[in-house]
């Protein structure tokens, strides 16, 4: 099981990238007593049957690891939201993309910690491939409100396979979260 909300989000972004998405959106909003997050992509999507099966921990499409019998990403998130009294929604269309949204009550005893947002956003940009990632983040109580695109980060900092670029971008992301 994942430890923090950020871990669930990174897992979803990894799914999107693996689904061949050219555009991935990630929204994280803390307001009105809840943490709400959405990951949306234009990857290969799923039909109704695949979508139902994706919620089953003992199902995987079997294309990546031939003998594997489990696929735990979405089931972990469903379980965590159910335990904490949060909510989980998923919709998908074959060939056009998938959207996953979830929420946690901010003061729930079973709500996972939010985790390291700058680290999440950095890792979410670091997967191989040519995809756009749009990060939208709001926490009005702390005066946090920003939107960042992977393309503008790549343009300013260069390829994100370089440690010194990664350190610089992490500092950039942390400065947005701290304001």
């Amino acid at each position: 099981m994942h430890f923090a909300v950020c871990d669930f989000l990174l897992d979803l972004v990894q799914n999107s990238v693996e689904a061949g998405a050219a555009n991935v959106g990630i929204d994280v909003v803390e307001s009105g007593g809840s943490i709400e997050a959405t990951v949306e992509d234009d990857g290969k999507g799923m039909d109704e049957r695949e979508l139902e099966r994706a919620k089953d921990p003992f199902y995987t499409d079997g294309t990546k690891h031939a003998r594997r019998k489990v696929g735990l990403g979405l089931p972990f998130l469903i379980q965590a939201t159910e335990q904490a009294g949060g909510d989980f929604r998923i919709s998908s269309r074959k060939g056009s993309g998938t959207r996953v949204s979830f929420g946690f009550p901010v003061d729930g005893v079973d709500t996972p910690p939010l985790g390291d947002l700058p680290g999440l956003f950095l890792s979410a940009m670091c997967f191989d491939g040519d995809y756009e990632l749009v990060i939208r983040r709001r926490a009005p109580a702390r005066g946090v409100d920003y939107e960042i695109r992977r393309s503008e980060i790549l343009e300013a900092a260069g390829p994100l396979d370089d440690a010194s670029a990664l350190v610089a971008v992490r500092e950039f992301l942390a400065s947005h979260e701290a304001s």
Partner: protein
């Protein structure tokens, strides 16, 4: 801390480039790949990734090293997993890589060219790994 602008990010990046001691004129020859699937994330691969980035930056190796993330490498039972491919060393997949081991991989494997024992799960032949 005020929000950095993209212009400030660009400047910081340029400053950091100046620090680099580029050893390999042929281009980057060392690859470090961190498994970031469900299994890796659940086991703390993000912390290992952060520590590798820090250690590479501190040792001024970023001119030589490419750091990448990938999905599951198929070794879910020993996550987090990290693969290192570099000249002069056998391509190696390390498992159970917590932050301390991640730093060991940079210091011992990448810099010192010795294998990090007790964490090897794939690639080098068994007879060269001490029990």
């Amino acid at each position: 801390m005020a929000k950095m602008t993209l212009e400030q990010l660009r400047k910081l990046r340029e400053e950091k480039k100046g620090d680099m001691q580029k050893r390999d004129v042929e281009g980057k020859s060392i690859q470090i790949i961190v498994g970031m699937g469900t299994c890796g994330i659940a086991a703390g691969a993000k912390q290992s990734f952060d520590e590798i980035v820090k250690a590479i930056d501190e040792n001024k190796l970023s001119g030589d090293v490419i750091i990448r993330q990938t999905g599951c490498m198929g070794l879910c039972h020993v996550e987090p997993t990290v693969e290192v491919v570099m000249p002069g060393m056998p391509a190696t997949i390390y498992g159970r890589v917590d932050a301390a081991t991640a730093r060991d991989i940079v210091v011992k494997h990448v810099v010192g060219k010795t294998l990090v024992e007790n964490h090897i799960y794939d690639r080098p032949a068994v007879d060269i790994v001490k029990k």
